[in-house]
Structures are given as structure tokens and as C-alpha cells.
Symmetry: C2
Subunit: 817 residues, 2 copies
Amino acid sequence: MAVSMDDDVPLILTLDDSGSSTSAPLDDLDREELPNQNGGSYDVINDASSPAAGDCCAQQSSARHNWEMNYQEAAIYLQEGENNDKFFTHPKNAKALAAYLFAHNHLFYLMELSTALLLLLLSLCEAPAVPMLRLGIFVHATLELFALIVVVFELSMKMRWLGFQTFIRHKRTMVKTCVLFVQFIEAIVVLVRQTSHVRITRALRCIFLVDCRYCGAVRRRNLRQIFQSLPPFIDILLLLLFFMVIFAILGFYLFSPNHSDPYFNTLENSLVNLFVLLTTSNFPDVMMPSYARNPWSCVFFIVYLSIELYFIMNLLLAVVFDTFNDIEKRKFKSLLLHKRTAMQHAYRLLITKQRPSGISFKHFEGLLRFYKPRMCARERYLTFKALNQSNTPLVSLKDFYNFYEVVGLKWKAKRNREHWFDDLPRTAFLIFKGINILVKSRVFQYTMYTVVAVNGIWILVETFMLQGGNFFPRNVPWSYIVFLTIYGVELLLKTTGLGPVEYLSSGWNLFDFSVTLFAFLGLMALAFNMEPFYFIVVLRPLQLLRLFKLKKRYRNVLDTMFELFPRMASLGLTLLIFYYCFAIVGMEFFAGVVYPNCCNTSTVADSYRWVNHTVGNKTIVEEGYYYLNNFDNILNSFVTLFELTVVNDWYIIMEGVTSQTTHWSRLYFMIFYIVTMVVMTIIVAFILDAFVFRMNYTRKNQDSEEDNGIVLEKEISKEEVVGIIELYKRSSAATETAQLQKIVLQMDKYGQMSTLFLGRRSRTKSDLSMKMYEEEIQEWYEEHSRKEESQTPLQEPASASSSSLKPVSLRQRSQTV
Amino acid sequence: MAVSMDDDVPLILTLDDSGSSTSAPLDDLDREELPNQNGGSYDVINDASSPAAGDCCAQQSSARHNWEMNYQEAAIYLQEGENNDKFFTHPKNAKALAAYLFAHNHLFYLMELSTALLLLLLSLCEAPAVPMLRLGIFVHATLELFALIVVVFELSMKMRWLGFQTFIRHKRTMVKTCVLFVQFIEAIVVLVRQTSHVRITRALRCIFLVDCRYCGAVRRRNLRQIFQSLPPFIDILLLLLFFMVIFAILGFYLFSPNHSDPYFNTLENSLVNLFVLLTTSNFPDVMMPSYARNPWSCVFFIVYLSIELYFIMNLLLAVVFDTFNDIEKRKFKSLLLHKRTAMQHAYRLLITKQRPSGISFKHFEGLLRFYKPRMCARERYLTFKALNQSNTPLVSLKDFYNFYEVVGLKWKAKRNREHWFDDLPRTAFLIFKGINILVKSRVFQYTMYTVVAVNGIWILVETFMLQGGNFFPRNVPWSYIVFLTIYGVELLLKTTGLGPVEYLSSGWNLFDFSVTLFAFLGLMALAFNMEPFYFIVVLRPLQLLRLFKLKKRYRNVLDTMFELFPRMASLGLTLLIFYYCFAIVGMEFFAGVVYPNCCNTSTVADSYRWVNHTVGNKTIVEEGYYYLNNFDNILNSFVTLFELTVVNDWYIIMEGVTSQTTHWSRLYFMIFYIVTMVVMTIIVAFILDAFVFRMNYTRKNQDSEEDNGIVLEKEISKEEVVGIIELYKRSSAATETAQLQKIVLQMDKYGQMSTLFLGRRSRTKSDLSMKMYEEEIQEWYEEHSRKEESQTPLQEPASASSSSLKPVSLRQRSQTV
């Protein structure tokens, strides 16, 4: 079973089999080579004699196995480096390795994710459930038990891989285990009693999601960031609360003699109202009774708001932003050094006693087989060449340090022809060339901008003329057809002029394409009267977004927006996790508490009123609607929590619930406000940081702007390819050989002696940081290597224990092919 | 008259008189010296022969006069450098110089400020006036005319100083002249017609305030910053509005079929409501009708708010913050280079043909007489010594570049004794020493913190127990007396232990002192039943602020707060200026529009309702209070505008006014929202920038923290002092001689051969920037000097024309003494 789920290591079988017969020109020392099995590579690097030199006389077949093991372990080290996994979780023996491999592939991750999601989604069906999705207690409790058992299985795999000692030391896993235990007991209790009790612990289900590999970004970046920002945040929060208390006392003394002022009649009211005032949610109202009596009382509120809202709240942002900046840098540093250590570990496992100065292609290829099994032979060789800065056939440690930057590149042969139609006959070529020139001309571009602008104004005017009634005419309006035709022609011209591949490689063109497609679908919907799809028609104004290409700043902003998108999504997910916790708690306490006309005794009665009274012949419905903001099921709770996040008029919801329960309910709302404030501040700080960082970067590289990510050029000669083919042939790797021979054929066809390949990947935040902190990075490296030298005795055991990986069942597995 | 108002140049008379007889050891070359009258100092510096060498044979008395003129001009240059005045406004001849001196002293500035304030305050009395301050049209129009005539006088002085050509070129002054002209005509029209017309131009009165010298910070820093941030701001604003339009169309199509939804029934309503939604001000309400019909419609609002509020609005902040950062740095650079140029100009005027390598003390002293007339002789010499890095008696250009940093230092002799009580008899000394040790001990400090905390809890509990009724007891509560006694004893101990001077030199102690004083005044108020002062009692909880000394972050935050205070105040003033403009416009259009029960036809009728109906025996008053938020006079307008700034429920005010006027009134409110958004964003950006800057600085200088500003140490030997005394004696400067002789006496008393002086000043933002941009500054200087070298021919005429200052009436003036 373990093998079948391991889609990370399918090539083991092929290559392990063939390793014995390789003696490619690049690899002629193969036979004598022995891996640095005991992690003693440090000694070899330092030109000291290896204490484990006696191992040299091991058997050839054992050596081959050891090599495979080393490849795998090196690949694991590199993965750990990339994922920022600590090395103390490194698998220490064969059993652990098997569990590690089992627990580190996409099927397992998917299982992890789906059980977590299942557990979370259960709250849709558990009482108080969404009406349509209600399930019997027996059904949902059984489902829950099933999911929990899967989690138990996952955890046991993890324990197998980590070993009991490490498992206990790993805090997050321990918390998860405890939560799992509690959930288990509760699920059984529910099943036995056949009735749901107050299960606030369901809020803890989030931990299963957070612990997923796929949610690593949420956990590592956002939650940790939030927790690290907390101490300074709390400090300023205390300052805020302190001033609030002072002003509450002051306000109580000043305004409580005014009996028409309900906001300051007790100290508690005074405090609560000033808390709400901090969110500005009750602003002019809270001032009005005292303002009506004495106009100068507005000074109290102006001073309070100036200090609290305009100064301390901004300070809060400043402090979080500052901490954020600092943390980002420190995180970048630690990840960089962690990766470096990982590369050192991997390097040590790949060099040989005979040639300690670098890694040969054969071993590098072996590593890549485990590290990136989907990579084709050509790409492996190109990666090797890109790393290899010197002219020797070995990759030194210094070169190897660029591993992560280079391994992500997508390699493509550089085309000799400029356009896709270069090979066409003369007439066709001229026509297409004409279209190409037209499409690229400024006149064409600006004409299109004008058309888009006219279209925008047209839509606006058209909508403005429509005043109620039947919005979607039976007949398709002619303006729609005209504009769509123009867009269609533009799309056609661009596709033919640039070629489909080049056309779709630009994000903006992709956007144009999809918007035009949507408009076309809308036209279809109109023409064939498919009412449910009318909303597509409404998306037409999106065309206008194209206008923003005109200005550089917008391009910058929109590019930043797209770059930020994944991170924003993960921040959104973090917010949702908090929402989930609060929704569960809210449902347990406040479900069914709020209903029409529920709160007639409170100050916010109007908002909850639902009166249906008849005056004369007319029925007048007075609706306050706020009873819709309830905690009756999880979807409603989410909407209510979003409303609380937006903050405006949140006190109406709070007061409504409070009037139906106790005044301690306010704590729930206040805590929720503070939590969202933290997350929102982090979001603002994050956007600020990312944007300012990017602008600084643009400013620093003003000359080299308009670059499309990282590009690397490498030339491969025919002999080299033939050499690698030989190598693969001997390993009887058919697919690789065939792939490479295609390249040779292509070269022969064009009569070239070599082909130029371009490696390309998009620029990541890490690349930008590398450039920004260029100078400091060198210092960090030096500091790090100094530290490492002094700590080598401490690190040795870890690396020694890691080498105790023994050739497991891998041999048997390899023999099945 | 010019002389009498010139409190900047009183020492001219004394020293001009005595200049001839100086031949101090430091100045033995005096007789042969001639100033570089024609600005040819460049040539001298470059060791080229001066073309104006023929002037050498000018008369001795003329030379003296020329020296005085040079001192004065150099001082003017340095002032221009400090104030960031452009050099093209440099006075070019004697008449201009007289006008310049007249227009650059505090009396003139005060006149400027008071006329501007008078003009602004007039709007309190003009219809619609604050009831208590209403004045007859004749009275306020006459007052206005008077103020305007004063402004004319100020402008004519400026014209005299600048010359007609420069005056015309100076944009701000030209705008001011135009506004003045319009105001003049309008005031006369009002006076003639005896009735006020629609005078929106009154909003332009602000320009008189902005143009004041004392409001230079507001003008230079804030307004310019706002205008420079505008282009990127507007770009993002367009993006925001664009999405708003798209969503308005979408919302109109989606929700207008729902007839119970008043928010989206027309496109205009849809747009307005989405604009208000951007401010979250109508949030759950705007969603409720559609949400009640179809729960999924909440998606529309969530997406809209996520894009607009949480993404683009934050982007707005990011863009402004980024621009802000950039502008701050460029401003710092330009000011730095401007100062440098000013120093070069001044330096050229102070060196002699005979000794072109530096400035001698005599000439430096002459400069300081004009630049800082209040400085005493000792300080002048210490400043000279602090500048002089080499051991020669001359200050070179390189040394002179530190002029601005050094001239602000406050010099004090370094005390030999540690405590103030060192000179007291043995017993007393021991007692005070004991108190000193006690006061400085940690135990004492933490005891006091505990007392403060207990006091805070006490007050809280006490207030909590009070539930309405007579808050201020007839008898002083004993807890008040106990705590006040403790604070009094602490204050006494600290004052005696540290000495009053040292005690009050710390800001925190000053705070303690004033709070305790206030508490004592409160006690008095209670004891003698002075009701109007009861509010002082309420300030007691401020004591709790002392607790924030405990943590370093708070100290940092509060220190930053105090450093930011002046700048925050100037930002507040900027906001007030915008308020003024909007208040005038609002009053002209909306005065008297809103009153109780005015808006029964609008959707916000409830908020304006004022019903007084009797049910049974009780009179129930239903008050909506919003009619209080009106534009009936300028004070009410300010409060209303503040409410609009806070944003919450601002649409109620907008809708109220709109229902009574036309729907174009909304434009006023929307524009106001956008303007305050700009200013508020700038404020946030400013706080962010200042705070992050400070934190970075603290991080960079972690070792040298806890420094109290800039400190410089200089030792002066007795011979030096005697030498200077000789110099002053010959100039028969009696006060200076006496001052210096006191130092000699003190040295004799303690038997010292020299005294150590400490120069101290607080650290400014400029100092921090200097340190932060250390490396870049060198580049700027090099770039600047390269540019200057290439531009020298262009600059020569200016400097030549500046030297055409002829000895004016100064001679006559000097002879009056």
C-alpha cells in the first residue's frame, strides 16, 4: 500500500535497477565511488582523513543501494529545507523512512485535508443546522467518528515516522492529539446519549485544518505572524484600554447628572459606550444628549476620539507594521539559513570519497529522480549545467547553494523564428506580418482603448435610462452586438497576429480573452432567453478594467495585486478559521436567541421590530431586519460575524443579543472585535509591506524594469547530448533516451551543433528579498558558518544518526520491475 | 521705525562702534583684512587671482562698514538656509535689505498672524453668526477692511524687499494678492449695500493664515506633502470609483426588481449607497432588504467590501505611505543641500583675502551677533571652538559645514559636584545622601508603582459603587487625602534627594509634579466647595499613566508621541484649515436648512424627529437630535464637519440636508469625505513613518540607547578666556567682558586652569535622518558639488548682485550710540 500511494518516488524502480551498468564519460569513476555514508563529508571537505575510511571495502551492490539511499535522503533534506521543516523531524531509520514517505505525498495530504474539511463541514449538519442540510444525530456523529479515526491513523503514521520521543516533543502534534482525544470522547457521548450537549470544543476542530500540509502557509506565515505580533499589540491595547477607563470615569462624572442621557448613567454603560465609540459605531448618537444640553460637551468626545481613534489606533498599526517588517526579515533570514544547512546536508551525502570537491552528474541526476520525479532528462541535465559555474564536470558546494533558485526553472529551447508564421508561404507570411504590425501598433491599442471607453459610457447611460421595469429586453440590444463584434475582431486579429501561444502568455490578454468570452456567453444567454445566466450580461463593465493598462502605476498596482493574491487568500483563510471558532461558540450560546420583536426592552428595539399593521386599506410593514443577524446556523453566524468585522452598527447586534441573554455576552462581541482588529491590522500591515517593498524594488531597479521573471540561458552542444544519451542507454532508461534523441534529431534538422535553452520562472518574494538584502545576506552567511563551525560537534550526531538509514525493502521493490 | 522694530539686530550699534580698535591675539591680522566684498571668494578658494583685487586700497572705515554688511548678509544667508527660503528672494540692495529686516522679525510675524486670525475669526460674527457674538454688518465689514489694509501694508513691504520682478514671479504671493483684491471689493460692496451676499470667497481667507511665517510648517510640510501625494492618490481613487461604478450597475440590475429595497431602485441611489457603503456607514442596513429576500445576496456585499474597503482602501494607504516616505527623503536631501549652499555663501562673505583658508573668531563673532543676537560671549566662543576641528585659529569651510548642528547647542559648565547638597555640612549631607539613595532605589520606585496601581483600582471601585445621585460628597473622602499625602511625600523626597533642577529636568517627573499639583488643587476645590473646579478631581486617574514608565515599549511610544506632538498639531491645524473652507461653503448653502421635524419626506426622518406627545399623564419626548448637526454658524459647522470626519452615520446628515435642498448637495459631502480621507491617510502615513523610523533608529543604535539628545564637550583654558576678554575690552563691550570675567573668577576660586563645558540639545528628526542616510549623504554631497562646479558661472551673478549691498543708514545708526 505504501508504494502505491507514493507518487513522489516512482522512478526509484527504473533507475535502481540500472545503476550498475552506468559508465558514461561523465561518470567514469563510478565503479570506485562510495558515498559518504556516515555523514563524514565534513572531514572530506576539510581535507582531513575520514575516520570511516575502513568502509571502503564494502560490496558493489551494497554501494549501489547506499547510493539510492543517499539520493533519497538528500532529496528529503532538500524538501525539508524548502518546506522549512525542522531537521529534528528527519526520519532516523528505515521504518521511519517508510512512514515518512507515506506521510509525504499528495494522496496523504489530500486525505488529511478532506478529513479536516469533513470535520469542519459537519457543523453545517449538526444542530443548530442549516435547515436544508440537517442530519440525524446518529448520522453526523458516525461521520464524525469516522473522520476522527482517520485522523488517528494519520497521527499514528506520524508517530511512526517521528518516533515516540520526537512525537512527544512536537508541541503542535501534542495539542492535536489532546483535541482529538476530547473530540473522540464527546462524539461517543453524543452517540450514546443520542442528544447533542453544549459542544464548544467543536471550535477546536480548526486545528485539524491548520495542521494540514496544504495549509502550511496559513500556519507558518499567518498564525505565527499573528502570535508574534501579539505582545506589542497587547501593550498598545492596554494603553488604549487605560485611556478608555480614564475617559469612562470622566464621562460618568460629567454626563450622568443628565437624566436624558442613557449612555453614561452607570460606569458599566459608560465603559461599554466608550468601547463602541472607539469603533465610531455609535458616534454622533452617543454625543447627542449631552451636546443638546451643553454644546461644549462635544470637546470631551473630540478629545477622546483624537487620542484613541486617531492616535493610539494608528500607533497600533504602526507597532504591528514595525513588528511585521522585523519578523518578515528575520523569517527570511532563518529560512535562508535553513535552506543552506539543508543543502549542506544533501551535498555531504552526494559527494564521494574519491572526488570530495563536487557532485558529478550521475549523482545529481539520482538526487533529482527523488526530489523532482516529474522532471525530464533534458531538464535534469540543464539544471546541472545551470548550477555548474566552473568548467569541471563537478558541481561544487558553492555552486550547489543555488540549487533552489535553479531547480524551479522551466526550460525551453530558444526559438530561432520570431513569429509563429515564419514558416508559412510568402503571401500568408506577408498578411500575418501585416496583422502583427497592426496589432502591435500604438494606433490600434489606443483605438481599442477608445472603444472600451465608449462602451463603458454607453453601458452607464443605458443603465441610467432604465428606470425599473423589465431590465432584460427580449431582443438583444444592437449596441451589445456591435461592441462584442469589435472585441471579437480584436481577439481574432491578436490571436493570428501574435500566435495563440504568445497571445495567451500575457496575463492581460488572458483577461481580455475571458471577458470577451463571458460577454459572448451573455449574448447567448440573452439570445436564447436563458434567464438564470443573465447575470453574465452584467459582467460586461469588466471590459473597462482594460483601460487601467494605460498607466504605469496601475500596472504596478495590479501586478502587485496578483502577486499578493495567494497570500491574501491565505490571510482570508486565517480569518475564516477565526470566524469558525467564534461561530461555533456563538451558536452554542446565542442560537435562537434573536427573533422579530425580540428586544422590545432594549435601546435598539426599533432595529428588531417587525410590525404588520393596517392603516386604512394599506398594509404597512415596518421591518427592522436585524433579527436576520443571528447565530441560528453556521452560515448565518458567518454573515453576522462579517457584519461585526465591518464594525458599523455592530452594537445593535450586540445589544440585541445582550438584552436576550446576560450582559456578559458583550464580552464575546468585544473579544471578537479585538481579534478581528488584530487580523485586520495584520492584513493592512501586510499590504503596506508588500506594496512598499515592491515599490522600493522597482525604484532600485529602474533600468531593468519590465522583466518577466528570472531568465537563464544555457547552451548545450550535440556531443553533450550524445554523452548523456549514452549514460541513459546504459541505465536502459528508455523514455529518457527517446526524449534526448529527439533533441539530437532537431539539431540535425536545422544543422546546428548546439541548441540554446532558456530557463524561466516567475519572480518570487524571496528573489526580491535576496536582492534587497544583498549586503546583509553575506554577513548572515558568515555569521552562520562561524556559528556552525563552533557547533559542529553538536550537529554531528544528528547527521550521523540520519545516515543510519539502512537499505530497507527498497531492494525488494526494485526487483519487482 | 525700522530700527525700533528690528529686535533681530540690536548689537549692531555696540559692536560696529568698536570694531576699529580690535587687535586681539586671535585677530592680529585685522588691520590688513578686507572682506571678499564682491563675492569673489570662489576665486580665492580656488587660489586664482581675484579680478577685484584693485579694491584692496579702500578706506579703513569703509572696510569696517563692509565687514558689518558682510556679517549681516552672511547671517541672512544662514537664516535663509535654515528656513528653506529660496535664494532668489535674497535682498538685492540696501532698500531691499531694510525691507527684509523689517519683514523678518517677530513683531512683523505677529502682526501677520493676528490679522490673519482676525480675518478668520470674523466669520464668528458675520451672518450666520454665533448668537452671542453677532455684530452689526457695519462693524464687521469695517473690521474686515481694516485687516485687509494691514495685509496690503504687509504685501507692500514684501514687494519692497523682493522687488517687483521677483514679486510677480512668486506664485503664492500673487495668489494672495488676487485673493486680497477680491476680498477688498467684496468687503466694500457689503459696506455699501449694508447686506451680506453669498460670500463663498470667504473660504479663501485661509490663505492669509497659510502665508504666515509662523504657519510655515503647515504650508511647507503638510500642504505641500498633501499636494505631492495627490497624483498617486487620485490614481487609486479612480480605481476605487471605477469598481464602485461597476458594482453600482451590477447592484442595480440585481436588486432593483425587489421593490422593498429602497437602496438600489435607481442607478443614482445605487451609486450613492455604494459610496456610503465604502465608508461602511450604512452597512448592514443596505444589505438587509435583499438579504431578507435571498440570503445569497450577501455575497455581493462581501465581495464589494473585500475589494473596495479591505483591499483598495488599504492600497490607498500603501501608495500614500510610499509616496510619503519618498517625499520625506527627497525633502530632507534638498533641505540639506540648501543649507550647505547657504553655508557656502555665508563662508565666502566671512573669509579674508589674506587668509582665505578659514574664518577667524572675530568674523565668526560678527556673524553670530547678527545671526543669534541673544547669545552671550562665552557661548559664541564655545560655538567657535566646537566648530573648529583643527588646531589653527581659523574655521575652515569643512568645519563650517557643521554650523547648524553646533549653533543650537546650549552650553553649560560641567559641574564638579555630583549632587546639589555636596557643599552642605556633614550631617545634612548624609541625610540628603540617604534620601538620594532611597529615591533612586528600585524598592522605592516599585512601591510607588504599587501605590499608584492601588489608587487606580480604588478610584475604579469607588466610581463603580456610586450609582447616580450626588457624586461629589460634601466631605473630602479620606482615601483622597491618604493617596495625595503619599504623592506629596514622594514629591518632597524626590525634590530634596535629587535637587529641584535635576528633578524637573526629566519629563516624567514634570508630569508627576503637575498631576500631583492638580490633585492638590482638586482637594482644595472639594474642601472649599468650589463647584466649577470639580472637574479637576476627575483628572486623578491620570496618575495611573505613571505605570507606563514600567515598560520600555511604552517609554518608546510615549517619547515618540511627545516628539510627534508639534507635527501632529500642525497636521491638526491643516485639517482645521480645510474645515474652515468647508464650513464657510456649508454655511453659505445650508445654514438654517435643517431643523426639528424637517426631513419627514426622507428616509432618515426618524433621526430628525422631535415629538412631544402626552400618553396618559406622562410627557414622552422623542428626540432624534440630528437637527443639532447643522451649518447654522461656524462653531456648529465645525462640530458637524468633525462628525462627518468620524464618518459613522454621516449619511444621515447628508440625507437630511439633501432632502431639504437639491440632490447636488451630496457632492459637497462626498468631496468633503474624500478630502478628509486624503488628510487622514496622510496623518496615518505620517504616524507610521515617524514611528517606524524611530524604531529602526533605536534598533540600529541599540548599544547607545538612553541618550538624552546631542552632547558635546569642550574645554576652555584660562588663557583663552583672558584672550577673549582682551578682545572684547578693546571693543569696549562691557557686558561681554563682565560675563567672561565671571568665568575667570570661578576658575580662580576652584583653582582650575581650565573649565569643561557641555553643549546639549535635543535630538531632532534631522539628526536621526543624518544618521540613517549617512552613506547616501556623502553621495548627495559629491553629486551636488559636481553640479555646482558645472553651474558656477550661473551662480556667480547672484552672488555678485548680493554683494552690491551698499552700506546704508547703518553708519548713521551706529553713531547714535
